[in-house]
Symmetry: C2
Subunit: 297 residues, 2 copies
């Protein structure tokens, strides 16, 4: 894949970190950034995250074909507005870093129709509760998984090039179809963000807890709460966008969660002794499944 | 407080790490451990966590008064069986590391009746998903919070001594009554463990997720799931005991969680557009409350 000129459209933590990764591995690449706000533009200039940077209002009629590689690092909703304007011919390879896939793949398939094209949807799994180009970090993509999703008529050779690109900056790759991606991500990423956020609000709504919290200068929480709340409330615009795009599977995952939590709650309904063997079996199952999911055993 | 002879009754991660802390700050103290299993005894000998160690079956009629300081590091249920056998007079100071307080305080108040005594209940907030004396670590109690709960007739000077003991090994202390402790801990510790465990089981019960998990040697989860699942399924015996002891407040916290999660789920009920401003306000509230609870702002 040629990487003389790269455009990163939308440059927050993910796009900014990707710029750092590209500059490390491909030092000759000229990187252009397009961002929404003057604030981001200023951060990008200060951190030298791109050779040139424009705000959206400074750009009209982007000449996509002047770039070898265009990386969309915007909310999915923004991307869906851009896809219909992409050129249907030319050598430019397009990727996005979208957190959901079905609506992107549908838009790409619709836009390119029966034409072969060079658009691959990708999802590097390395978000953070931090945001903005000022949070960009070196090595963000190293030893992280990047999920690749191929639209129907994307060229197989382009798929291979994009795979090699991600691997060249240190990521592992796996291919998933859009439905498998969105359903799996609902359970391992989107639901956890909902749960973390609700957990903080439930604690925050308990008067005794907040009275105790305010009675001492140190946190009364241990490592469990700290870890469980790390992602709470982060990046509301991005998550609202993700929830919209992945509404169906997110709903299912929340329903599954409410069902299992209600079953657990019902163990406490009886006045009699707790069914401790049932609790043990729920705990043991979680331990086993955690090892399977996290590949720790 | 005299610390010539200390007994740590029950020596897992917490008791073992406390032994390391005592040996560091009070090198002349002679530490005795009593544990349930031969396996624990072996680990304690290997890691030199005590000067002498006995299994429960090797000890009959413990002479509590030969120790200056007795630390109970057992499940609360075990502790509740021991409290009625403690001497009502003597110089020995007793503490426990129990994760719930009301049932312990009730048992202590009942046992000592109208006598002044030297039993203080404490709760160092530094658990871990690891267990057993082999997991004991140096510095576990440094810069951690220890909650102190005073039974009705515990001597005020003993309370002061116990407070100074914890501070001498590097902990911060705060005093809470039993009810405030148990209610607060339900929200910031017990509920998070339930939620983490259920989250893993919900993901583990989704076929698409598990198919994808098994299709690659690397984990497909990002940092969010990893953090949210760290405490899942850990230490089922201890947690079952905690849930029993703190049944009332745990139930309330789960009910609060189901209520807030159901309200969130209901935002998706309408066929129409998502109420994104409502999601933003839930997220913003969580961000604010997280900062308040964690004292990061």
């Amino acid at each position: 894949m040629k990487l003389n000129k790269v455009l990163i459209y939308g440059m927050g933590l993910m796009g900014g970190s990707l710029s750092l990764a590209i500059r490390e591995i491909y030092p000759k690449t000229e990187i252009t950034a397009i961002v929404r706000s003057e604030k981001s533009k200023k951060s990008i200039v200060e951190k030298q995250l791109a050779h040139q940077v424009f705000t959206i209002s400074e750009t009209t009629n982007i000449q996509w074909n002047q770039y070898d590689f265009v990386i969309f690092s915007t909310p999915v909703a923004t991307l869906l507005e851009i896809i219909p304007s992409l050129p249907k011919t030319g050598e430019t390879i397009f990727i996005d870093l979208g957190s959901t896939k079905q609506t992107i793949i549908d838009a790409v398939n619709k836009h390119f129709g029966e034409n072969e094209h060079k658009y691959i949807s990708t999802h590097p799994m390395c978000g953070s509760e931090h945001t903005g180009p000022e949070s960009a970090i070196h090595g963000l993509y190293r030893e992280k998984l990047c999920i690749l999703t191929k639209p129907k008529l994307a060229k197989e050779t382009v798929m291979e090039s994009v795979k090699r690109f991600w691997e060249s900056i240190g990521s592992w790759t796996i291919q998933m179809d859009a439905k498998s991606h969105d359903e799996t991500l609902a359970y391992v990423s989107h639901l956890p963000h909902v749960i973390s956020t609700i957990l903080v609000n439930v604690a925050g709504n308990n008067k005794t807890t907040m009275d105790q919290v305010s009675s001492i200068a140190k946190p009364i929480t241990g490592g469990g709460f700290r870890d469980m709340s790390r992602i709470a409330g982060s990046n509301s615009e991005m998550w609202t966008s993700i929830f919209k795009e992945n509404r169906y599977f997110l709903q299912n995952s929340i329903d599954d969660f409410i069902k299992q939590l209600t079953e657990f709650r019902n163990l406490f309904l009886e006045e009699s002794e707790l069914d401790t063997s049932k609790i043990h079996s729920i705990w043991d199952l979680a331990l086993k499944q955690k090892e399977t999911i996290q590949k720790t055993k």
